[in-house]
């Protein structure tokens, strides 16, 4: 069983969101980069658990990013995994990224490809489904639970208004969210081991970008809170009914 986990970096969840260069670039000064939480807590940790259960599992990580992402990928390796592959490209287009990951998956003959549900910066929820289609693999999105028995995966996925349990034979692409696994903290042994794990750099294959970012905007500032005295909740109900017209 060969598993490929797609890892992206994202700004720390408390980062200030600001833009430079005429609002065309995210202001990265002072930003702490982390592993995208969905990739780390759910996709990677679940894959590590599968490997812990069955030592024959081979677990590789892939990221499509510039060299500045290597510390983040080392951090991921400190949690677990045998090796990482970095495709040396800096594109932000989901289709371009998916094309690179599909190529790696094809070459490596992986049975399972895990992605996060979405990146918390671009919020695309796109790369996993695109990778699946490029590989002609089935795609199970928004998974909250994953069990593997031989080559049969039993997956719980979120659907509109509930959840569904399904069964699928590998190979398959799965996008992972809360419920798949519990967050872990890397230990000293993991951090030491990660230093010597292979981190291969591959050059990208030719692929198209279908979209481009024109610029960014910040939402308009809120007018400020209207405080209502605690002993007059009737006033709140009145305002919601008459002023905001939401109840």
């Amino acid at each position: 069983m060969k598993i490929l986990v797609c890892i992206s970096k994202s700004p720390d969840t408390t980062s200030k969101i600001a833009f430079t260069d005429n609002n065309t670039q995210f202001a990265t000064a002072g930003v702490q980069w982390i592993i995208n939480p969905y990739d780390e807590w759910y996709a990677l940790v679940r894959a590590i658990e599968l490997k812990e259960k069955d030592s024959a599992v081979v677990l590789h990580l892939v990221t499509v990013a510039g060299a500045d992402t290597e510390p983040v990928i080392r951090k991921a390796l400190a949690l677990g995994g045998d090796e990482a592959i970095r495709v040396n490209a800096d594109s932000q287009d989901s289709f371009y990224i998916a094309s690179q990951i599909a190529e790696i998956a094809r070459q490596g003959g992986y049975d399972l490809v895990f992605t996060g549900k979405e990146t918390i910066d671009y919020n695309g929820s796109s790369v996993g489904g695109m990778v699946a289609e490029l590989l002609s693999f089935p795609y199970v999105a928004l998974a909250t639970h994953f069990e593997l028995n031989g080559t049969t995966a039993t997956i719980t996925r979120e659907i509109e208004g509930g959840e569904e349990v399904c069964e699928v034979s590998t190979p398959v692409v799965v996008s992972c969210q809360k419920g798949m696994a519990e967050a872990r903290i890397p230990n000293m042994r993991g951090i030491m081991a990660a230093r010597t794990k292979p981190l291969k750099v591959m050059e990208p294959v030719a692929a198209d970008s279908l979209t481009s970012i024109v610029n960014f905007e910040l939402p308009p500032a809120k007018a400020g809170v209207k405080l209502i005295p605690a002993d007059n909740p009737g006033e709140l109900v009145r305002l919601l009914h008459e002023e905001a017209k939401v109840i």
């Binding site: 489904g129 795609y139 928004l142 979209t211 809120k222 405080l227 109900v237």
Partner: protein
């Protein structure tokens, strides 16, 4: 040339999100001088022709019950056939579980540019540029779609669902080649009787300030009175006070109701990331310094255990 709108259904009924997608798609079609057409897959109970009031002229229906469960590969192939048959240039989905499952593989299949989480109609002055929510609601990005066929998924509560006319839609049975699915459904569990959180107009949400699961009675009572869904902060779900599917925020569900009432929630940035697109935010917290007040429209500084029962009484009076 047409704008093709994917109409979502669950158990045979059309979803509110689809009505928003229909209004968005048909408004866009009008701007571009195109036809607005819909596509719906699977067995249906609802009155399809009536959807004409949302501006859609024709609806292609593939009624095969094999399509009752959304499957990325099978749906992609069927919709791709409909795109070809209708000459659709723009395909609109809701940015919900179904849209997130199907739009990306369809984008790769057609090599059509995709923007997920659109919050407004495209700007057409300089190419085709769609505003989308990024950084978990903390900013927007304007994205240019640079291919002939384009796919947009629309965020919930971003475009008004309003009656646009009185025409009925023509229903056209669509014959498609349907592949055998590789994903076998074992069981389906839909939350019954409750308002679905992702679609709710009003959400009543509780945090650690409520002290324990036994105190959720007031949250549920207020929610019931307002026809609202209930939600919670992450530590509340992690402690199993409330089910996981109620967790909103950066790592939970992102919602955009008309009214979000946060009770005993501090308003950490990761929580706000999931709720800051709500139209009106009410915060009830005993700490005047709680960061949530900065993101709120209305607030009460006070003890939830004293304030909430009074609010419930006032809402009862209003509804009476």
């Amino acid at each position: 040339m047409s704008v093709l709108i994917f109409i979502d259904q669950s158990e045979g009924y059309i979803k509110k999100a689809s009505v928003e997608a229909l209004c968005y798609g048909s408004t866009l079609a009008k701007q571009l001088g195109m036809h607005a057409e819909g596509i719906v897959l699977g067995s249906l109970q609802d009155d399809l022709p009536a959807l004409g009031q949302y501006g859609v002229e024709k609806i292609h229906h593939v009624s095969d019950p094999a399509l009752d469960h959304p499957d990325a590969q099978v749906f992609t192939n069927v919709i791709a056939q409909a795109v070809q048959a209708t000459g659709a240039k723009i395909i609109v989905f809701s940015n919900n579980a179904d849209g997130k499952t199907i739009a990306p593989p369809l984008s790769a299949h057609l090599k059509a540019a995709l923007v997920t989480g659109a919050v407004a109609l495209p700007e057409l002055a300089n190419g085709f540029v769609v505003k989308k929510s990024v950084f978990s609601g903390k900013a927007f990005a304007n994205i240019a779609l640079n291919t002939e066929i384009k796919i947009i998924t629309l965020n919930a509560n971003s475009f008004p669902a309003t009656v646009l006319g009185d025409a009925t839609a023509e229903i056209i049975p669509f014959k498609a080649t349907i592949d055998a699915t590789k994903v076998k459904i074992i069981s389906t569990n839909k939350v019954k009787g409750e308002v679905v959180l992702s679609e709710a107009e009003v959400v009543v949400s509780g945090g650690r300030g409520l002290k324990g699961p036994e105190n959720w009675g007031m949250i549920e009572e207020l929610a019931k009175l307002l026809g609202a869904a209930t939600a919670c902060s992450r530590p509340v779900a992690d402690a199993h006070w409330r089910p996981h599917h109620e967790h909103v925020g950066q790592t939970g569900l992102a919602i955009a109701p008309n009214l979000y009432i946060a009770i005993g929630i501090s308003g950490a940035i990761q929580h706000l990331a999931g709720v800051n697109r709500s139209k009106t935010i009410v915060v009830i917290n005993k700490d005047p310094e709680a960061p949530f007040f900065k993101a709120a429209d209305y607030g009460i500084v006070g003890d939830a255990f004293e304030v909430l029962p009074k609010i419930i009484e006032e809402v009862k009076k209003l509804k009476a």
